[in-house]
Symmetry: C2
Subunit: 230 residues, 2 copies
Amino acid sequence: MNELNYCYKYPHPAVTADCVIFGFDGVSIKILLIQRGIEPYKNKWALPGGFVCIDESAEECARRELEEETGLKGVTVEQFHTFSDVERDPRERVITVAHYALVRLADVVGGDDANAAQWFSQTEIPALAFDHDKILQLALERLKERICFEPIGFELLAEVFTMTELQNLYEAILSIKFDRRNFANKMLKLGILTEAEPRREGTARRIATKYKFNAAKYAELKQRGFRLEF
Amino acid sequence: MNELNYCYKYPHPAVTADCVIFGFDGVSIKILLIQRGIEPYKNKWALPGGFVCIDESAEECARRELEEETGLKGVTVEQFHTFSDVERDPRERVITVAHYALVRLADVVGGDDANAAQWFSQTEIPALAFDHDKILQLALERLKERICFEPIGFELLAEVFTMTELQNLYEAILSIKFDRRNFANKMLKLGILTEAEPRREGTARRIATKYKFNAAKYAELKQRGFRLEF
DNA sequence: AAAATTTTGCGTAAAATTAACGCATTTTAT
DNA sequence: ATAAAATGCGTTAATTTTACGCAAAATTTT
């Protein structure tokens, strides 16, 4: 079975969906890559992704391929750009819809049995297959822009976190240092954080306050036309 | 010649590029639509656009189709979303890369001979073919977001304009009223406007100052990491 | 032509926000 | 035990935003 069964009056490009998956280890941003098992670019590292089936949307494809290649399930991906240069792929004309997502590193361990999926720091990233370097670069830019206006950062942290952890995340993504006290004031004034545990009394104080992201409050504020900013 | 000459091992979707073209008549935002001459949706209004050829990028296709269908030449379009729902088109699986652009209405008149291309105000827009209503709606949202951070509005005005014209444009896009004096101060403080004509002396003063957008100055500021905001 | 209205330029003052930093105590690392 | 870093709770000055006044020039209406 190697027949060419799908025929059209005009040439059709193939369409793929690729994923840039971001994680955070407490210090720096991580990116999830897979090692290709077949030609072209065999053994090269690449973004997870694959061909869009005829009965699924690009987003559905991105999620399916992500699970197949890395074991990551139920991730909410969002498209950020479509790459349509004519010579992107040596095999045939391929247009790719690039997506990104933020995941908790803790949720990932163990998903990668058969597959060579691995997290890389930005500094460790090897040369990637196809034009995936370019795709990754744009994803990083969009992540920076996005985190300034929407509270997507919380998706990278554990459900409960300290203000310092949150600040480290923002500093890692934006490559900016904030004043600790001003950062905390700004975040708290937004009104989208809730204290997660009652503060301890008496003896042991001076333990960092734990917070949760309050999605309900954010949704309410957003509807009233409110905007995050950093 | 109606043969199916282009054959593949797996099914391939068709890919199109569509354009949301914005104009401004001094009072309200206009959108350029074309009337379809063939089925499906024959005689319905739709966004300019068409099938991506095998040797052109989506952006190149958008520009080509725009010229073919409306006579508009040399427009810089920018993609903003790819629509890939399975049932978008009754003929076959079609994925579309949606673009938008801002043009000066003055530059357009006369381009539309053979084609039924027409400008519509937001309130006049009829039900559109395919999912083009959805595409247009997202384009409007993106335009609002974008104009808050990048000086794209100048592309809609004549080269030389008054502060009041600029304010009217912002108010039309954002559906917000600004204080005239505060708006002018904010715009001038950005440092991206240049006075276009020397102000008249003596007798006739009190004629609105004319400005030009200073692209060079904006480029310089942007490189230093500066951000527009409204 | 006169009167009324709108547009334009040039401000000011109060309110709100941002930015820079102090300090004592507790926890963690050496 | 000692040094270094983290945490909570502020203050103050500079900057930015917001609301609005007023008179001259231009425009529209009567």
